[in-house]
Symmetry: C2
Subunit: 355 residues, 2 copies
């Protein structure tokens, strides 16, 4: 009711109930037995005074825990959440963290070099870093200095931090080999962004040198293990529209047109297939396409794409579990996941075996 008055504190409640603040405190935290009568008296006093429970700010100072786990996503939020893999990971993460945290703090990885980045001054107990740009590296350094547990998902781990990884290279090689086994020799690839600038276009050796996104590089390396000299186009993100644009470029010239395309994500693959359909190519008869991720996308019956399924939800969950462990004082353990090949209906032997 009272608007401008100071809010009641636990010692006000204690006083009103005729007990010590310590007793009042345990009534709320429940960590110690309290006589039923006392408990009721305190609760009554609390509701009398409009006390809504311990101030989380004070509690977190005293306990040294705020119950908040931060998540840093590479790139802008809107962009990140467009990716089904990211959302699935977030889902697994929140799930695994439910017991140990009240919520997930979404941190912008500040593009502006403003005084202090949020990651340096947010009241959190631990951090999960998802995706990886050069900025992440910096973030890891800050977090480490602050002495809080951190888990990196799909970052380029150099040293001893806990990370959740995927066999990107092997998986990509497996997909490429699948195409090679079918007899494809003229193959191209559509890649995820190479760096924070998200430049589109053919990947050249010097662009590779500047690249910072580990996932892209690993998947590319796997592809190149099988097709060392094949052309690769980078995109601005894992989007159907990006795959469409890249597909148009790759398929534009009938002379140089590949017979198969390895897309670094399912969404890109869908875009490539659209591009093929646009110009009258049939998939898989005229063009084979493989993706990566194995996610179900709304509006696309998900059963046809030949791809590898990555355990996105489990990755998030694993990250959450490691955070929970580390908060409990145990050391974190890196976890490595493996994809599963899922044959679909978008690959077939090339129409006119080349050569």
């Amino acid at each position: 009711m009272s608007n401008r008055e100071r809010r009641a504190t636990i010692s006000d409640v204690a006083k009103a109930a005729g007990v010590s603040t310590s007793t009042a405190s345990v009534v709320f935290s429940g960590k110690v037995n309290v006589a039923e009568a006392t408990r009721e008296r305190v609760l009554a006093a609390a509701s009398e005074l409009g006390y809504t429970g311990p101030d989380p700010r004070a509690a977190s100072l005293r306990r040294g825990r705020s119950g908040i786990v931060g998540v840093v996503l590479a790139g802008h939020l809107r962009h990140a959440f467009l990716d089904p893999v990211t959302t699935a990971m977030m889902d697994g993460l929140t799930d695994a963290l439910a017991d140990v945290s009240t919520g997930i703090l979404l941190l912008r990885d500040d593009p502006f070099g403003g005084e202090a980045p949020p990651i340096a001054e947010a009241p959190m107990d631990a951090v999960v870093l998802i995706g990886c740009s050069d900025r992440i590296r910096e973030a890891v350094e800050i977090v480490r200095r602050r002495g809080m547990p951190a888990v990196v998902i799909e970052g380029d781990g150099d040293d001893d931090l806990t990370e959740i990884s995927l066999d990107n290279r092997e998986a990509s090689a497996m997909l490429a080999r699948h195409l090679a086994d079918l007899g494809h020799t003229r193959v191209a690839s559509v890649a995820l962004p190479l760096g924070p600038q998200r430049l589109r276009g053919l990947i050249t050796p010097d662009r590779l040198d500047d690249a910072t996104v580990g996932v892209t590089l690993d998947r590319l390396a796997g592809f190149r293990d099988v097709y060392p000299d094949a052309p690769v186009i980078s995109t601005a993100g894992s989007l159907i529209d990006e795959g469409l644009a890249a597909g148009r470029t790759l398929l534009g010239d009938p002379e140089t047109r590949p017979t198969a395309i390895v897309a670094q994500s399912d969404l890109l693959a869908v875009g490539v297939i659209r591009a093929a359909e646009e110009i009258g190519l049939r998939v898989p008869e005229d063009l084979s396409v493989v993706g990566f991720d194995g996610i179900a996308v709304d509006g696309l019956g998900s059963h046809e794409l030949t791809t590898v399924v990555q355990p996105a939800l489990e990755k998030g969950r694993a990250a959450g579990e490691q955070i929970a462990r580390m908060l409990a004082g145990e050391p974190g353990e890196s976890v490595h996941f493996t994809v599963q090949f899922r044959p679909g209906e978008t690959t077939a032997p090339p129409a006119r075996p080349f050569r």
Copy 2:
């Protein structure tokens, strides 16, 4: 370096630098002038001791602010972020909040009646409630008692809380009238969920009584303003696949088939169009379809759908701005937004004007 030792505090730093803790404090907060020499001495001592800046927990207790704004989304996270409107709002929100907050705390609106809901014990300065179920009502109550500013986006506001709203009813009526003007008399609608159970199927009067989602009801009311008796099917969410399923149901029987369908979201509309195409109906010749939202969806050239465009980003931004105002001590003001009609190529006069 030291692993198990107590972390350095600001008074350690002050001692090492030979100044008072108050001086050391202002070196970090920058709120008061400090002589350059002193500042450097303190900074040197800090880095010497591995001090990484004031503990956010302590700071937030003292200041009474944690710099965190909570966001409660109806339903599960994964689901919420699938909706482009939600992500756009989040974008606007984080944007407007950048100055006043270090990050957005994603709160689950706990499905389990576990002791204390996160919203009651998270250390945040204000809350934004998005979407509206009955649970939100409860949440508002808690937040109000805790005395923190709150803004509701598209909730069913009863009393004096600050809310961001949209002219859902008028907009829907406008769309329906557009169809009426074209001559459609046999019209149906595909609605968003009515309640947290997200039941699919024909909406009956008694189902309406139990409905809790304001947006759905408002859009439905607008539609019924023009077509009072038309059939309406509810879906489990704003998804292409849901629109597809509903479309199949509505269009299944050639006898009762409508000549136009009002979908309560663009994604639903896309699904309906797919359903029409499946059974060989042409849009708009055989079936007119209108949507709602006016968002650009990846993978769908967005230029054809007849719809209304809602300022999703601005809604989020407005919410953020109101939060910022309220945190500055000014009273919050509700903001009402208006959609804009965007004619597309999915509506036309009915093929055989009925009757």
